[in-house]
Amino acid sequence: MASVTQPGTGTRGFRISKRVLPYVLSLPALLVCIGILIPFFSAVIYSFQRYRLSQPWARQFNWGENYLNFFTDPGFWNTLRVSLLYAGTTVILELLLGLGIALLLQRRSTVNNFISIMLLLPLMTAPALAALMWKLMTNPGFGILSYFASLIGLENFRWASSPDTALLTVVLVDIWVYTPFIMILLLAGLRSLPTQPFEAAALDGVPRTFVFFRITLPMLTPYILTATLFRLLDSIQQFDIIYAMTQGGPGDTLTVFQVEAYLNFFQSTNVGRSAALLIILWAITYTLSNVFIKNWLRLRERARGEA
């Protein structure tokens, strides 16, 4: 590389290097990631195989059988249902809460800026550790939240250890960690909106609900879309919080895609089923990420344009 780019090389050397240079610069980063693509293809192959770590001799291609079995497999439908329920609930609640908080903090003031910085802390807590924090707080013996629950008449509220409330508990942890994500994105969006339409509306005495639904929301839509899709992509793949909190239990209450795939691989050593589950999850996220990237690019160009 050095020989090509040494100072004082003639115009010809300069031109060659200019063509090759970008590849030279970006190739190392790409090579490091290419190594990771190989396991991806292995996963595709595994998903078409009958493959159990406990019976390696019986490994053979069974083509679509892993996938076909899903149709009659209540475990799979449970996984799909819980994953969608988890992703749907967390994203909707976080969006509403995040938008509400962003609107509360919209005006720049010392207090508002301080609060918005404080709210970053849950987001910067490792989700797995956040789950442990909530586990301590919801401990049936001494957990402060169990105590609060008993104060409002919910004796023996068992949080994550009861199948009835396990989903609620992990959703609560997810909301605690990720609402600030939506909040800070929307806050940045709100504060970057042009002020003229709002001033004009104020001058004309337009009602505030009208301003909100007809001016604020439409102008904020690109931000809302990007934040929502971003969260949806992460939430449908949630693993850390659920695994650290309950390892998918009690029973199969919280066996979302990645948790179920992990348990299939390491506990029941059913590699074929595990891989097929992950391929289905990948297909979902791939579709979502294509929509996401389109929105994200539009937003990115706008941010760059304003800079």
Partner: protein
């Protein structure tokens, strides 16, 4: 916005207070727990009045845990060391690989450049286990299972896309004219990159590095699948510690506090850049 009625002012105040309480309470509560003995933790009703003790931290730092069954060795400090090492080296490698690539993407429209950039971005959104589970077997063949080298390689999946896309944005913000002027004065490409582009994008590169550090530190699933106890970072180590120490709640709380302090401190330090980093460069704070 200007004219706020007193009622509205009060309602806003109440709403904001609730928000702050909900988001701050767990951190404050765990912090308080970490300074308590098991006895005061187990009191019913819970109380914030207690004589603070540093025993929990002392037990973690010395690695000796006194339990009813005798003294238990805990390797939590080792986990903390692993977290520091894995995160620092991963970010260093990602900067070394990612910054030149980001520069190439920002300055040169070359054949396939957008495809490569988007391929790297798409890694951020693929289910990590899809790659990790087959990778366990490849790592066994390659002798990379439970090695720092293998882990740092996989950590590039978190750090590289982040650095690439944020730093690319910073390079794009710098006018190329300055660099042309410097080139025309007879300086090489590399001198231009080092003397002009790097210093101008410096703050952005530093911020991207800090963010990549936070995400590497907070990662859980990579090490859960690929590392054994002696190589595990705090995220995985703390979970194992909970299972092992059972009812030593004060120590668990102290371990959590030690594990989250570095990222929270860095986040406060780098907060100006967080919006941009979290949105992978799509939104400016």
């Amino acid at each position: 916005m200007e004219a706020m009625s007193p009622l509205e002012r009060v309602l806003r105040g109440i709403a904001l207070t609730l928000v702050v309480v909900f988001f701050m309470f767990p951190i404050v509560w765990i912090l308080l727990m970490s300074f308590q003995t098991n006895e005061t933790i187990l009191r019913i009703p819970p109380s914030v009045v207690f004589t603070p003790t540093l025993d929990n931290y002392a037990a973690l730092i010395t690695g000796k845990l006194q339990t009813a069954a005798g003294t238990l060795d805990i390797a939590f400090m080792r986990n903390l060391g692993n977290s520091v090492f894995l995160s620092v080296v991963s970010v260093a490698v990602a900067l070394l690989l990612g910054v030149p690539a980001a520069y190439a993407f920002a300055r040169h429209k070359f054949k396939g450049s957008e495809d490569i950039a988007f391929t790297l971005l798409s890694f951020r959104f693929a289910p990590p286990l899809l790659v990790l589970l087959p990778l366990t077997q490849y790592f066994q063949w390659l002798g990379l299972s439970n090695t720092y080298f293998g882990l740092i390689w996989v950590y590039q999946l978190i750090c590289l896309p982040l650095i690439l896309w944020i730093v690319r944005g910073y390079f794009e913000d710098i006018s190329a004219d300055v660099e042309y002027a410097y080139r025309i004065a007879g300086h090489s490409w590399f001198a231009t990159f080092r003397k002009i582009a790097l210093p101008l994008a410096g703050p952005g590169i530093a911020a991207a590095g800090l963010l990549a550090f936070i995400f590497a530190w907070n990662n859980f699933v990579f090490a859960l699948v690929l590392a054994s106890a002696d190589k595990q970072p705090v995220t995985v180590g703390a979970l194992a510690f909970v299972t092992a120490s059972g009812i030593q709640y004060g120590q668990i709380a102290a371990a959590i506090v030690l594990s989250i302090t570095p990222t929270l401190a860095l986040a406060l330090y780098a907060q100006r850049y967080l919006v941009e980093g979290l949105s992978l460069g799509a939104v400016k704070g």
